[in-house]
């Protein structure tokens, strides 16, 4: 019985001509004396025969090639569109600092100017008033400092 179990494990390999010489001899000598294992081999051989003789499917020679050409062309087209979008995306990405910097500068300018006291007395008015204008006074008026 132990031998039967061992031989049964080798039967598929033997059937497929994959068993080495020692295993082949072991199987063959056992099969000469064991009807059950012989029947098992016969059944396995029939199963193998049925699967081997199973109808094969066949495609027209260029059927799959044509389908693949279409699919690959479609992929390339899609990739092309995506690369255009990606290019636009990259451009936008590169240009982002420009509006950000402009907004930051605008805010800074507004903050600075809002803190500056507004001169109610301009340089022009000072000159028209006929009073003596020194460089210091002119600068103070230009910079918005009240004299």
């Amino acid at each position: 019985m132990i031998k039967c179990a061992k031989v049964k494990r080798l039967l598929s390999r033997y059937l497929d001509k994959e068993a080495d010489k020692a295993d082949t001899e072991l199987v063959e000598s056992h099969l000469d004396n064991c009807l059950l294992c012989k029947q098992e081999l016969s059944a396995l051989s029939q199963v193998k025969g049925i699967i081997i003789r199973k109808q094969r499917k066949s495609l027209p020679q260029d059927y799959l090639v044509c389908r693949l050409r279409e699919e690959i062309a479609g992929e390339k087209h899609t990739q092309g569109s995506f690369s255009w979008l990606t290019g636009m995306g990259n451009l936008a990405h590169r240009l982002i600092p420009v509006p950000v910097a402009a907004i930051a500068l605008s805010i800074a300018f507004l903050l600075i100017t809002s803190n500056q006291p507004v001169s109610k007395y301009s340089l022009e008015e000072h000159l028209l008033s006929g009073t003596q204008t020194t460089t210091e006074t002119a600068l103070a008026l230009i910079l918005g400092e009240q004299s």
Partner: protein, 182 residues
């Protein structure tokens, strides 16, 4: 130089014809493996197409450490497993076997080849995928045990036991068909 390698080199040099020659050479083999594993016509063609698309995109990463066919069959297996996983079709199809037995009821002479093919398809579909894959690679594609072990990434001993188990299960299923198939 191996014919497949020449095709691959042509493709990598920019000639799509190299890839197309590989498709023409292997399309029926791929289709028959997939069909034997999933048993559905239309979807087998779609999976075969998906397999070759993967080949197209990844051929540059094929390092030629194994034969191209081994690499290709590995892609076939993975793509088919993915398909079945998505379809949750790993379980055995007992209903299909019952139908196959019903097909054989009646005079044996009346059983048509097409019906027998259907019985075999259903019997194959009824055994667990891990056993089915091994027996399909052996009996449909005619690979050696060592090549099957490379495709399925397992030892030769495992291949041997999977094929034996597959044939035992197939025998049981085919015998159920009242001697129609076996």
């Amino acid at each position: 130089m191996n014919e497949d390698i020449l095709c691959i080199e042509r493709f990598l040099a920019g000639e799509e014809e190299g890839f197309e020659a590989l498709v023409r050479k292997y399309q029926d083999r791929v289709l028959n493996i997939v069909y034997s594993l999933i048993g559905r016509d239309r979807e087998s063609e779609d999976i075969a197409q998906e397999v070759f698309l993967k080949v197209y995109h990844h051929l540059s990463s094929f390092r030629q450490r194994s034969q191209f066919s081994t690499w290709l069959y590995r892609i076939v297996m993975n793509t088919t497993y993915d398909f079945l996983r998505k379809r949750r079709n790993y379980t055995s199809d007992e209903g299909a076997i019952k139908n196959s037995v019903a097909l054989l009821e009646g005079p044996r002479e009346a059983v048509l080849t097409k019906e027998k093919a259907e019985i075999i398809r259903k019997a194959l579909g009824s055994i667990p995928l891990k056993f089915r894959a091994a027996v399909v690679l052996k009996d449909i594609e005619g690979l050696s045990y060592i090549d099957i072990s490379k495709v399925l990434r397992c030892s030769i001993g495992t291949v041997e036991s999977k094929i034996y188990r597959a044939r035992q299960l197939l025998k049981t299923q085919l015998l159920k068909s009242e001697g129609g198939a076996i």
